[in-house]
């Protein structure tokens, strides 16, 4: 079909074909990806930490709790673990929380095992609704055998806004 269409019309038709093949390639890639996502995610913050959903999302498999339950667990002596980097922990954290930065999980294995022995109920948190370190940490805690690890979705932001106890400094275990 040489020169059948006006060059501009041909460009638009070709663009549509490229778009269609590209979309198909994307769908096929996602179907076979080890990090595949569903067609529609869970991005509404009112229902928890936003995530693409699906079994490869950080939020998969963890139970999220709200402020009221976090407070109740705090009063009942659950262990709070701060999943943020140690520097952020020093600047302020939930009173009595221990620091287990998610990205340095291996360095903190001793703490993790101690937490598991001491009290079974563990509450992981990070900055707020839009961080996923707490979810990643909870997943790692589950893998380490601490089955009752839950995620306080609102994180430090919601905790301090509600006027609940916060403290600064190194704490016992910060490296």
């Amino acid at each position: 079909m040489p020169q059948k269409h006006h060059p501009l019309v041909r460009s638009v038709i070709e663009a549509a074909v490229v778009l269609a093949i590209g979309s198909l390639a994307g769908v096929v890639n996602n179907a076979f990806s080890s990090h595949s996502i569903p067609c529609v995610g869970e991005w509404d913050k009112t229902y928890g930490v936003p995530s693409p959903g699906g079994e490869h999302a950080a939020t998969h498999g963890n139970r999220e709790i709200g402020l009221a339950e976090a407070r109740r667990l705090f009063e009942n002596g659950a262990v709070f673990v701060d999943a943020r980097p140690a520097g952020e922990y020093r600047e302020g954290h939930v009173a009595g929380a221990i620091s287990i930065p998610e990205d340095e999980f291996r360095l903190y294995l001793e703490e993790v095992l101690r937490v598991g022995e001491e009290r079974p109920m563990v509450v992981a948190y990070c900055r707020g609704m839009e961080c996923d370190e707490a979810h990643l940490l909870a997943g790692r805690l589950h893998d380490a055998g601490i089955n009752e690890a839950v995620v306080f979705a609102g994180g430090l932001t919601e905790w301090s806004r509600a006027g609940l106890p916060v403290e600064k400094g190194g704490g016992g275990n910060v490296r």
Binding site: R10, E14, V18, G22, S23, N29, I37, S51, G54
Partner: protein, 160 residues
């Protein structure tokens, strides 16, 4: 039609632009194709698309980038691929400018997944504008020499 072929330098320039932009889009698509989860979070952090469109965009966009890049390099349906690449750059520039204007901190997610600061966002806006200028120059070329389209006679050979 003047009957005059585009000069060798001109045809060479268009070929270089095609190879560069095609390679750029292929390169940019790879890490997004590898991790749809991470790319969907990047799109979410742009805070532009409604929630129900985020995952589909994260699935489809890298595939389109890859295919458009390959088509541009081999020169098959190269006009269409060039159009897609130009339009994508326009969309990226609009998204980055919009977020810069409202002071949102975000990760562009262009070539890797890493936190970026406002200064970096300005840099990447300038970079994308340069790419856009290159894409427009390519799109305006009268013929894509040394492409499959050109071999098949879909691109002008004898006249410019």
């Amino acid at each position: 039609m003047s009957g005059r072929r585009p000069s060798l330098i001109h045809r060479g320039l268009v070929l270089i632009l095609r190879l560069f932009l095609g390679g750029l889009f292929i390169y940019a698509s790879v890490h997004k194709l590898q991790d749809p989860v991470a790319f969907s979070k990047i799109i979410y952090n742009y805070k532009i698309l409604p929630g129900f469109l985020i995952n589909m965009s994260a699935i489809v966009l890298p595939g389109v980038e890859l295919v458009a890049g390959i088509m541009l390099i081999i020169g098959f349906m190269s006009r269409g691929a060039a159009l897609i690449i130009t339009a994508s750059l326009l969309v990226f520039i609009c998204a980055i400018s919009y977020n810069l204007a409202r002071g949102l901190e975000f990760d562009c997610g262009c070539f890797s997944f890493s936190r970026s600061t406002k200064g970096a966002a300005v840099d990447l806006l300038i970079r994308d504008l340069i790419f856009l200028a290159m894409a427009l120059r390519m799109l305006c070329a009268r013929g894509f020499a040394w492409s499959l389209d050109w071999l098949f006679g879909l691109e002008p050979k004898q006249h410019s």
